[in-house]
Symmetry: C2
Subunit: 213 residues, 2 copies
């Protein structure tokens, strides 16, 4: 175990610099191939500084994961107090999630490489927890929308998966085919196809009339 120095030198922004250089190195070389030396050199600090703040390479990776999960949790939390119809609220959150995803591409690549890649000696993190929380949030809105007569849904899970599938297409293209990337407007239209599929008869006609002539 590396002992931290008695007292960290005052260096504002050092934590952010370490996170940024770690994510860059993990993304370029893969988690396993990236050394602590490379991370600290790019951040312009010495090894003990990394050990002081994050304990280890795994510690800095976990901090990156936690940061991303916290941002996601924050979105969900705020979305729980959003206003409007169930469709409005889902559309709004989807837009925000898509936006967060776009801003997190390097980290997403690292997470995917750990998730899908050969074992690299790092825990999978709790991406699962976040996924489940998101699914639950969507399901709740669907139930509320159904109870309010906004939706006509035979099985909530089906509508939930269809909606999440539409969002996943947007995030996957962003990641794997930036040349085909969807805009926020494109995403809303794709999601709109699913909403049309669950709109109650009352909800359907005016939207069609208003938005599609």
């Amino acid at each position: 175990m590396n002992k931290p120095p008695e007292k960290a030198p005052p260096d504002p922004g050092v934590r952010e610099r370490l996170l940024a250089s770690a994510i860059d190195c993990f993304d370029r070389k893969g988690y396993a191939a990236c050394s602590v030396r490379e991370i600290v050199e790019a951040a312009g600090v010495t090894k003990p500084v990394l050990y002081y703040h994050y304990g280890s390479k795994e510690g800095i990776f976990n901090a990156l994961m936690r940061q991303a999960m916290d941002q996601f949790d924050e979105l969900l939390e705020r979305a729980s107090h959003s206003e409007g119809s169930a469709r409005d609220r889902i559309e709004k959150l989807f837009g925000e999630v898509f936006d967060l995803f776009k801003r997190s591409i390097p980290l997403v690549r690292v997470m995917n490489s750990i998730y899908y890649g050969p074992p690299q000696g790092v825990p999978r993190g709790d991406a699962d927890r976040v996924h489940f929380a998101f699914q639950e949030w969507v399901k709740k809105r669907l139930v509320e929308g159904r109870n309010a007569g906004e939706f006509k849904i035979a099985k909530t899970e089906d509508a939930m998966w269809a909606l999440i599938g539409a969002l996943n297409v947007a995030t996957e293209l962003e990641l794997c085919h930036p040349d085909l990337a969807l805009t926020q407007k494109d995403l809303q239209r794709v999601v709109g196809v699913v909403f049309d599929g669950i709109a109650s008869e009352e909800g359907r006609a005016p939207r069609r009339a208003a938005k599609r002539r």
Copy 2:
């Protein structure tokens, strides 16, 4: 370059055994970490036999990819002559693709680890080509369905992505959350939500009446 032996020993099934042991090794250890020695030992042959049939580790990987792509191409080709409504034909192909996916999980894991993982010195293969062909196939059916009055679609791409998103949910759960895996019936219902979203008014009513009371 490894010279193949003058003549391969007659050993029926050796190619299949080599493919099977390669996919198993790639899946367990990752492409880069898996050695030719391990592959041939598990297949019960010697190195020159692998070199004779596949040239190299990369050659055997490419053969695995080609086999999967060929199976996919075959599905698409047969689906181009399928009969029924556009919805019927899309549903049928989606079911077959989902089925092929389920049978190819170890290879999919290897492909994902190469696609998402750190560089492993192997070409990405032409998974892209297959994806594009699939997208085009779906788009064609959507246009045919719209022209036949079966669908009401503002923008074909939107419906295509919504449908493909629904299929992707099924394949992703199969891969990452076998505990939540969808059945073929589940998949058809999720896809059905999207079809409801693009059904023409004429197509909608009887289906609703028949299937959902």
